[in-house]
């Protein structure tokens, strides 16, 4: 059983976690949440909007599920597989969801967008052709004050059509 236990060293846990496909050894603070740890280690795409689990700006995909980075203790990511917005695509090589959001005009201030896109990714991974109601349900934890969600729902629909159409294959 000892092997299952991590112990703090000088107030830090040393964890191993796969971030965006790369195995990383990260030092996370005792009591630190994943959101803060990720930002501290340079993944600034994960945003802090409330820090109470209510806005979804800190959404990341942990072991295949979209979760709230502000509610996951950083140490619990140990041994896990994590996707942040930086891992989805880049400006040079964006993911179809990122392109779809841009094309639909779904990005206004953009602060909620990384979380919104990751929630959409998790949805499309398990339901490639969601209905509008399913999209709205899947995004109901990602608050946006700019767009009224109109163009974001449209963007997910467009991305779904594009991805399911198999024109482009991405992870």
């Amino acid at each position: 059983m000892k092997k299952d236990i991590l112990e703090t060293k000088k107030g830090n846990f040393e964890i191993t976690v796969t971030v965006n496909g790369e195995l990383k050894e990260l030092s996370v603070k005792n009591g630190e949440f994943l959101l803060d740890a990720l930002r501290r280690h340079g993944w600034k795409g994960t945003k802090k909007g409330c820090d109470t689990g209510d806005c979804g700006s800190c959404t990341v995909i942990l072991n295949g599920r979209a979760v709230l980075g502000c509610l996951v203790p950083a140490v619990a990511a140990h041994g896990g597989e994590l996707t942040t917005i930086e891992g989805l695509g880049t400006v040079r090589d964006p993911h179809p969801l990122q392109e779809a959001f841009v094309e639909a005009g779904a990005v206004q201030c953009g602060f909620c967008i990384p979380g919104m896109i990751l929630s959409s990714k998790a949805l499309l991974d398990r339901a490639p052709r969601p209905t509008e109601a399913e999209i709205r349900k899947a995004l109901d934890g990602n608050l946006c004050r700019c767009t009224g969600y109109v163009k974001q729902v449209e963007a997910v629909k467009n991305a779904s059509a594009r991805l399911a159409g198999g024109k482009r294959k991405r992870g």
């Binding site: 993944w43 700006s57 990122q98 990005v107 608050l143 004050r145 767009t147």
Partner: protein, 769 residues
């Protein structure tokens, strides 16, 4: 003129920052690292009204890692306003960076900077304050009474019209053409009220104060008003403007809350420590200690003749400005000036406005800016009048709304904080907007279908029409600089503050249209007080109209310079040349590329940088118009309202970017619907906020949001850049009256008090029974 021949403007070009943001690029205030960064934390008042008798920071200073603790004793006492408005601000100077008196639960008491956030928090908890608790007043009507606690009893505050009665701003105005209500067949009088509402920008208030290599203070901050931040921080801390640089990175939404200058305290901490300092409000702090919409009670009284003529209209609005008078006068004036002119009033018009201090959170600018409060009353009253005289509410509005070429005495009498300007309507698509909305919602069909319903669940359709402004005439000024690069691209430097609205993109479109290039050929830098020319900032629905005007003028100057060089290259007359497709083209068909022009100017002939700066301000503020239609379902047993469809048709002149314009309106409307159905800040009996979190305040999520459909109705505004007017604010004002009117149509219940919760609907239903 129309938008037919435009090549770049009126096209849905990609928002230029969208992809970077969608990829999580580190673009926001807090996305960059500063070596040696200190973390700031403020101590907030637990009392609604108290004097600080003693404040002991010795224990706080002993916390390891603490670098500075500031109280009122450590800072210059400079009365100022936090309202980021043009100078001199029309808001009272009643605020001090730190004061020896606190005026609401959540007011600043002291500030700490420490090596870690934890240390800062701990230090804050160790500051010992001895308060003399004073009687507090939470309601506006109590605050104006004789003997009410005086919230601003300090002698040094300025421009408070009646501090003894807690009046932060007042304005009265009357047009009298005869005896009041003499001609009216029916007279109506009611009051409508709006609670404390918060902006809920998803990015909280965050600022980083640091120093450049030469010791100048740099404020990297989430603001809508970089130039006002520079001026007001300089004023409050008594440092020269030249010592401050304000940089606006990408902003995570503002909606007016970031038109507020709260950066003084983080700047003070940086100056004290000589280290970079970050102040990031928590969500709770953002709710309580940033700014809110002004709660309002709006009483309206109007007379109408049986033929549909509105004879008289009187609006008396009382705004709660909270503990400080930020935007107290201007929001109050806009609640009348943006609304009353909407409909012709034959005889008498009166406006009585008061903004009143209370020991409550501070109100400020919020999308809609008073018109939200005013239109809720005016448009519901319109509905009541139409109902009484048996006229279709749409027909009644069509009969009375302000038409092309018409003016209003209100335009001249009421500006923002001062006299306004005389103006007439120079473009309107309201008629078309109404027609489109009626078609989309199936107005006639549904009015007929929903008449005489029985059963507990009833449906109805309602209408509300709106206008807003486009910038503040003869106050707002913007400028733009354009310089040309070797490859025929241009740098566009604007003081305008894109806070997510897409203004960088639409300003680039405007300039690109003039210069005959693609939007991608414009490299936009927005808002750095060291780099970009002055702009008042992003507020008052001004950016497209005012900053757009500046971008267009600057581009025209640059075009002139380009053509002068091209004329030499092509050996033609300048007058015979035009810019098109990235080239200077002559009537005879000869042409040269912009890159040739640039290289010629830079390296060969009469060497010079092709560049120009232009400024723009306007003598009028052409209103956009909007028709809103809501279809609702009311469960008369539970009181729950469900919005089945919401159609919003907007005349914003030429939409510079139709996709972004739609997005602006969608967002404004859903924010308004959220106000209508669920939002309200709640307080305990001693003024402590009870629901200062997304969880309890609850803005609508994607799943909660009803179908919202925006339709653009193109018109051409002769005073706007390429026919454009504003688009950003107007949509937020529609849902309250449109839904209230639809609920009345459905079940006969009139709603006067936002938000329309089930309890209020049930209570209103009881009154109809």
């Amino acid at each position: 003129m129309d938008a037919k021949n435009l090549k770049v403007v009126n096209k849905p070009v990609r928002k230029m920052d969208a992809l970077g943001l969608a990829c999580g690029e580190p673009a926001f205030t807090d996305d960059v690292e500063f070596k040696g960064l200190l973390h700031a934390k403020l101590l907030w008042s637990p009392h609604a009204h108290a004097r600080i008798k003693k404040i002991d920071v010795s224990a706080a200073l002993k916390v390891p890692g603490v670098k500075a603790v500031l109280t009122w004793k450590d800072l210059p006492r400079v009365p100022h306003t936090t309202a980021g408005q043009g100078y001199p601000e029309p808001s009272p100077y009643d605020t001090y960076t730190l004061d020896n008196k606190v005026r609401y639960v959540g007011d600043r008491v002291a500030a700490v900077a420490a090596e870690t956030l934890e240390a800062a928090r701990e230090a804050v908890s160790k500051i010992k304050v001895d308060y003399e608790v004073l009687p507090a007043v939470l309601e506006v009507f109590d605050a104006m009474k004789d003997g009410a606690p005086v919230i601003h009893d300090e002698p040094d505050s300025k421009n408070i019209p009646d501090a003894k009665r807690n009046i932060a701003a007042k304005f009265d105005f009357e047009v009298k053409n005869g005896e009041w209500f003499k001609e009216a067949d029916h007279v109506f009088e009611h009051s409508w009220s709006i609670p404390y509402l918060q902006h809920c920008a998803i990015e909280p208030h965050v600022s980083i104060a640091h120093f450049d290599n030469f010791g100048r203070l740099v404020l990297r901050t989430s603001t809508q008003v970089p130039f006002h931040v520079r001026r007001i921080v300089a004023q409050a801390l008594k440092i020269p403007v030249k010592k401050i640089r304000v940089v606006k990175p990408r902003i995570g939404g503002g909606f007016g809350s970031k038109q507020e200058v709260l950066e003084d305290i983080v700047a003070a901490l940086a100056l004290k420590t000589g280290r970079p300092v970050k102040l990031e409000y928590t969500r709770k702090e953002t709710f309580i200690s940033s700014r809110t919409r002004h709660p309002a009670v709006c009483r309206m009284k109007a007379g109408v003749k049986n033929d549909g003529t509105i004879t008289d209209a009187e609006m008396e609005i009382t705004l709660n400005t909270g503990a400080y008078g930020s935007h107290a006068l201007t929001v109050m004036m806009c609640s009348g000036s943006h609304t009353i002119p909407m409909y012709r009033v034959k005889n008498n018009i009166k406006f009585v406005g008061r903004s009143v201090y209370t020991n409550m959170p501070v109100a400020g600018a919020y999308r809609g800016y008073g018109a939200t409060q005013g239109f809720f009353a005016w448009e519901c009253l319109m509905d009541m009048m139409a109902d009484k005289i048996g006229m279709d509410p749409v027909e009644f509005r069509k009969l009375n709304y302000i038409k092309l070429g018409e003016g209003s005495p209100v335009f001249k009498a009421m500006g923002e904080g001062r006299e306004g300007v005389e103006q007439v309507i120079t473009s309107t698509g309201l008629f078309e907007a109404i027609q489109k909305g009626m078609d989309e919602i199936k107005w006639a069909e549904k009015r007929a279908k929903y008449a005489g319903q029985t059963g507990p669940v009833r449906r109805g359709v309602g209408v509300a029409c709106m206008m807003q402004g486009s910038g503040i005439p003869e106050v707002d000024m913007a400028s733009a600089t354009i310089k040309m690069n070797e490859d025929g691209s241009f740098n566009l430097l604007v003081g305008a503050a894109d806070l997510g609205t897409g203004s960088d993109t639409i300003l680039a479109q405007i300039a690109a249209e003039v210069l005959g290039v693609k939007t991608e050929d414009m490299i936009v830098t927005s808002s750095d007080t060291d780099v970009t020319p002055f702009d008042v900032g992003a507020y008052a629905s001004s950016t497209t109209f005012i900053s757009g005007g500046a971008a267009k003028k600057a581009a025209e100057k640059v075009r002139d310079m380009i053509l002068a060089v091209a004329a030499k290259i092509l050996d033609e007359k300048k007058e015979d040349l035009r810019l098109e497709g990235g080239r200077a083209v002559s009537r005879k068909g000869a042409s040269c590329s912009l890159s040739e022009v640039a290289n010629t100017s830079l390296y060969y002939y009469d060497q010079h940088q092709i560049a120009a700066t232009a400024s723009h301000y306007a003598h009028t503020s052409p209103p956009p118009f909007q028709a809103n239609f809501a279809e609702v379902e009311v469960d008369t047993a539970t009181g729950k309202i469900r919005i089945l469809d919401y159609v919003s048709c907007i005349d914003c002149g030429t939409a510079i970017n139709p996709q972004l314009a739609e997005g602006q309106n969608d967002g404004a409307v859903v924010n308004g619907i959220s106000h209508t159905l669920s939002e309200a800040m709640e307080f305990s009996a001693n003024g402590t906020p009870l629901n200062a979190s997304f969880r309890r305040y609850k803005i609508l999520s994607a799943a909660d949001t009803p179908p919202v459909r925006t339709f653009l109705v193109p018109t051409w505004e002769p005073n706007g850049p390429f026919g454009a007017k504003s688009v950003s604010e107007i949509g937020i004002n529609g849902p309250l009256p449109a839904v209230a009117n639809a609920v009345y149509a459905a079940c006969g219940a009139r709603l006067f008090d936002a938000p329309f919760t089930p309890e209020k609907v049930l209570a209103a239903l009881k009154k109809t029974a």
